[in-house]
């Protein structure tokens, strides 16, 4: 489309030259406005758009760190070289007696082949609270032959207690030195017994125990899940509408997430982790293999949970509020079109 101005050059020229200039009084008035101090433009909306998600992430990290720290009531117990007299008889293959085995709540004395072994103390797990229990043991054995025997006995003991082996490493040398490193999981209620049995494989050199209480977290998750179930039951009783169905979906998603998390924590708490090092060396330091999540990891995990929770809430708001937002947008567009038409009509009449 060619420019219409080109079709009427004389008219255009006359139009551009026509019209009075502004009066001096108007010029002065506008200059006076320009002399007033001017504030800098602020990019409020852009700052807000950046600040809000950053604030949400920081809040999640802060809450995750605080809640992770509250959960952790680490009881650190370290027993030095708990001495036990060497067995007077040659070490025999253990005959494992699972039936009627003493409960972990009782410290017990083992009697085997006429040898009484001193009680080996270990922090008993709490029967009424969920706890993540971790122990590290270093046990001295006399020879490579004893090392091999003790290693296989430890694995068998684990299996018979209902536990399982996570990892096993064995290393021996020609000069008669060697070690075995086992990481096992046993039911938490049997951990004390397991520690005592492992200690009896040789002479215990070192023992460390870590206990982390997670009952508080489980209780909190349980309460939240109960509240969600009540909300779901109440919604299910209401007449079916698209909004109700959307709300139900969100609530069920959240409930699944909570119960899944609760199950994972309970699962972890139901089995204790024991790192057993059998060595022919008389002195050895425990280098625990980090397996359980540390404080930073817990904080990170909890922060992620909070962020997921925030995302679920946002999704809820979008799904429920979405139709209203669309309706409001349509009304606004309609009003805007109406206003534009009204302005056009006004200019046509004037």
């Amino acid at each position: 489309m060619s420019a219409p101005e080109l079709e009427y050059p004389h008219l255009v020229e006359e139009l551009r030259l026509a019209g009075p200039p502004p009066s001096d009084e108007l010029r002065e008035r506008v200059r006076a406005l320009g002399a007033r101090p001017q504030r800098r433009p602020r990019r409020r909306l852009k700052l807000l758009a950046v600040a809000m998600p950053v604030a949400a992430v920081l809040a999640a990290l802060a809450l995750g760190t605080l809640e992770g720290a509250r959960d952790s009531q680490v009881v650190y117990g370290e027993v030095g070289a708990a001495s036990a007299p060497p067995p007077t008889a040659k070490a025999q293959p253990w005959e494992l007696q699972e039936a009627g085995a003493p409960s972990a709540a009782r410290a017990f004395d083992e009697v085997d082949a006429g040898v009484t072994v001193e009680r080996v103390t270990a922090l008993p797990p709490n029967r009424t609270r969920a706890q993540q229990y971790r122990a590290d043991l270093v046990v001295h054995v006399d020879s490579l032959e004893a090392l091999s025997l003790a290693t296989s006995n430890a694995m068998q003991l684990t299996r018979n207690m209902g536990g399982y082996l996570l990892s096993a490493t064995q290393d021996t040398s020609a000069d008669g030195r060697g070690y075995s490193s086992l990481v096992v999981r046993v039911p938490t209620q049997k951990v004390q017994r397991a520690i005592v049995r492992f200690a009896q494989l040789g002479t215990i050199l070192e023992q460390q125990v870590h206990v982390q209480d997670v009952q508080r977290t489980l209780d909190k998750l349980f309460r939240e899940a109960q509240a969600l179930r009540a909300q779901i039951a109440k919604l299910e009783a209401e007449p079916q509408t698209p909004e109700r169905d959307a709300k139900l979906r969100i609530l069920r998603l959240r409930l699944d997430e909570l119960t899944g998390r609760s199950e994972r924590i309970a699962q972890r708490a139901s089995f204790a982790r024991i790192a057993l090092t059998l060595t022919t060396e008389e002195t050895a330091a425990i280098t625990p293999v980090p397996d359980e999540p540390g404080r930073l990891e817990r904080a990170w995990e909890r922060s992620l949970d909070i962020l997921v929770g925030e995302a679920v809430v946002l999704l809820y708001v979008v799904l429920v509020g979405g139709p209203f937002v669309v309706l409001a947008a349509l009304v606004w567009l309609s009003a805007r079109t109406g206003r534009r038409r009204s302005r056009e009509a006004l200019l046509e009449r004037s």
Binding site: M1, L11, R16, G19, P22, L26, R27, G34, Q38, L346
Partner: protein, 165 residues
């Protein structure tokens, strides 16, 4: 345009805004009042002006248009009140382009609608780009070109008829 102050923009575009309002309203006195009102509004809203979205000239013309529309609405209400009280209705001949216009052009402009005068003012007198003029008017570029073509044709016809007469 980044970093332009209000004072610089006002000095640079005062004539443009004034001429636009003269063409739109047809009354120099009204145009002066509306020009002052436009710049007062611009000073209050200067923080919201974003040079990346358009020139200061375009933005000021948008503000001037809003002020002019408010005036037109007020004028219409006044005319209706006057009609209700059986006084003489405001005559469109009150609209004068007496100062700075040739008689033929003044007559042709007086017989054009405000919408036609507006598009001529923006595209021809102020020489705004079609995109900017369309933004001020709130219409598409094609619609703007079409409206301009009709307006110029109407003015040319009126002026030619006057000359013949």
């Amino acid at each position: 345009m980044n970093g332009v102050t209000f004072a610089e923009a006002a000095e640079r575009h005062l004539d443009d805004v004034h001429r636009y309002l003269v063409f739109l309203t047809g009354d120099r006195t009204v145009a002066e009042d509306l020009t002052a009102e436009t710049f007062e509004h611009a000073l209050r809203s200067w923080r919201r002006f974003d040079p990346q979205r358009g020139s200061a000239k375009t933005w000021l013309c948008q503000l001037a248009r809003t002020a002019a529309l408010d005036w037109f609405r007020a004028e219409e209400r006044r005319r209706r009140r006057e009609e209700r009280f059986a006084r003489d209705a405001a005559d469109h001949e009150e609209l004068r382009f007496s100062e700075g216009f040739s008689p033929a052009l003044a007559d042709a402009l007086a017989h054009a609608t405000a919408a036609e005068r507006e598009v001529v003012a923006l595209c021809v007198v102020l020489e705004l780009e079609r995109t900017a003029a369309a933004r001020v008017l709130g219409i598409s570029e094609t619609a703007c070109t079409t409206r301009l073509s009709r307006a110029l044709h109407k003015l040319e016809e009126r002026m030619t008829a006057d000359v013949r007469a």
